[in-house]
């Protein structure tokens, strides 16, 4: 088993999930993840594999964003539309789809650094890895994460509340 295969088997799932959460698009996430592993091939040595992979993936997304902000905005808009339309399919998935849409909004409301740190943490990266990937001081990761979590939850709860009010108004 080559090194890249090992990297892929070890980190692909987490990386794709992280990127999916980050981008809201599974296909896009997989593309970025693959590109990340391709770049890992070219590296002679990687000190912290997980931190490196997440950092590169994050930078790829960021670079792409820098390269073509307009296209990204357009894609994000499309992704949002799709998420909104996703609400419809079936009664059983309606609630889940609404949750996903609100989660998306809440995550998007976060500052980029907070969002990435949180998503990385969710994938099991430790504070050192997050600090390395995001080029933060290790001491500030806790603060970043605590702020990200609080804001995420507060945003989500606010969205939930307004959603409930809309439903109440619609019912009455």
């Amino acid at each position: 088993m080559t090194d890249v295969e090992r990297l892929f088997r070890t980190y692909n799932a987490a990386l794709v999930r992280y990127l999916t959460r980050r981008l809201g698009d599974r296909d896009w996430a997989e593309e970025v993840a693959q590109e990340t592993f391709v770049r890992a091939l070219r590296q002679t040595s990687i000190q912290n594999e997980r931190a490196w992979l997440f950092a590169v993936a994050t930078n790829l997304v960021r670079d792409e964003a820098r390269k073509d902000m307009r296209r990204r905005k357009h894609l994000a808009l499309l992704a949002e539309q799709e998420r909104d339309e996703m609400v419809e399919p079936a009664e059983t998935t309606l609630e889940r789809a609404q949750e996903a849409a609100m989660a998306r909004k809440a995550v998007d409301a976060l500052a980029e650094r907070d969002r990435l740190a949180l998503l990385m943490r969710e994938e099991g990266l430790d504070y050192g890895e997050i600090a390395e990937a995001l080029e933060l001081s290790p001491g500030s990761v806790g603060t970043t994460l605590s702020r990200a979590r609080r804001r995420l939850v507060e945003s989500y709860e606010a969205l939930q509340k307004s959603q409930e009010e809309r439903e109440k108004n619609a019912a009455s």
Partner: protein, 388 residues
């Protein structure tokens, strides 16, 4: 130890602190109620944000294709639909017009015969049709015209005189009147000038009608005028006018059927007295088939009026008649026993053989023929006028 800040609490809960730091936080939290609630809150945030982020994984791959149908109908679909609608509407209009045309082309023989009578018309009928278009004639004038009819002496052909008014005609006429009203609707919608030209026609009554009008007419038209005037100017125009037409000819078509190669029209020459007019049809059909453009358009506009003219006769008479008897015109109990069936044959100007048969003497049939031609002539004049 000071109260740990929120970041430190999260780091502690994430297991990111060094063992020493963690021990210090733990010791403090155990004794600090405020920090205990802060830790509890932090746990809540960690769990909640994890749960929220898990919801982001609910991004099925098929999102884009699945959402596609709900994008609404593509613009090209609307364009196609609009095109189809326009074509369908256009087709409907054409079909409806063609339908009128076809149904009316069945009456084409009439016009052919009428044309033939143009040349063979005698002096008395020559004066009657093609009235001058003195359009502004008041309806009073028409009423007078009809009254003249009413008062006309019974110096009509014997055929009509020997047949008293028959109640059986009433319902027949009523049916015709209803049909007439329907036809008038169609004609009115298709030909906007119908009413106006009827007024023009009524304003110029055939002057020479009295000598030829059958005696049966006064009875049938006498009571009508009041009724007609009550129904309003337009229908009064029509009714009075038609009374003139019918008064002139004394016959009316009560039905027709098709046999092989010929069209058979049943004419009523007097109440309960009918004759059959058989006309060759092949040429007519050809005519109809090749008629295009202006000629087809003319037929389309002119034919309804002819029907209207014929049926208006019924309209005029019906109010006076008893509606109890069934429609079929030739009643079993014809008042006067007629002679055996005779037939006269002639060739019209279009070269078609026309046969007229009925329980009449050949001389009577000749008279009836003339009256039928007169009726058709009047109808044709009517049509021509409306076509202008």
């Amino acid at each position: 130890m000071q109260h740990p800040d929120e970041g430190t609490i999260h780091a502690w809960l994430d297991g990111a602190l060094s063992p020493e730091e963690a021990a210090g936080v733990e010791a403090h939290v155990n004794e600090c109620a405020q920090c205990q609630s802060a830790v509890a809150e932090a746990r809540g945030f960690i769990a909640a944000s994890s749960r929220i982020l898990t919801a982001l994984d609910n991004v099925p791959r098929g999102v884009v294709p699945a959402a596609q149908p709900k994008r609404g109908i593509a613009p090209w679909v609307w364009r196609v639909a609009a095109t189809v609608l326009v074509v369908a509407a256009g087709t409907l209009v054409v079909v409806r017009r063609t339908g009128v045309n076809q149904s009316l082309s069945a009456n084409a023989p009439f016009r052919a015969v009428q044309r033939s009578t143009d040349s063979s018309r005698n002096s008395e009928s020559a004066a009657s049709p093609f009235p001058a278009a003195t359009a502004a004639a008041p309806s009073i004038q028409r009423a007078e015209t009809s009254r003249v009819l009413h008062d006309a002496p019974a110096a009509a052909p014997r055929v009509a005189a020997t047949r008293p008014a028959d109640a059986a005609i009433g319902s027949d006429l009523k049916r015709d009147r209803e049909q007439n009203q329907r036809d008038r609707k169609i004609a009115g919608s298709n030909i906007g000038v119908a009413e106006r030209s009827e007024a023009a026609r009524a304003a110029a009554p055939p002057p020479a009608m009295a000598p030829t009008s059958p005696a049966a007419l006064p009875q049938r038209f006498g009571g009508v005028l009041g009724n007609v005037t009550a129904t309003g100017a337009a229908s009064a125009v029509n009714a009075a006018d038609m009374a003139v037409v019918a008064g002139q000819s004394g016959v009316r078509a009560v039905g027709n059927r098709r046999a092989s190669g010929q069209k058979i029209t049943l004419y009523e020459v007097a109440p309960g007295d009918t004759v059959e007019l058989a006309e060759e049809e092949t040429q007519v059909q050809l005519q109809a088939a090749v008629a295009t453009g202006a000629s087809a358009a003319r037929r389309m506009s002119s034919q309804p009026n002819m029907q209207t003219a014929q049926r208006a006769t019924g309209k005029v008479s019906s109010s006076n008649a008893d509606a109890s008897a069934p429609p079929p015109a030739p009643p079993a109990a014809a008042p006067t026993p007629a002679p055996s069936v005779n037939r006269i044959t002639w060739t019209d100007s279009a070269g078609r053989v026309v046969k007229l048969s009925g329980r009449h003497t050949p001389a009577e049939l000749e008279q009836i023929r003339r009256r039928i031609e007169l009726l058709r002539e009047a109808s044709r004049a009517d049509s021509v006028k409306k076509n202008r």
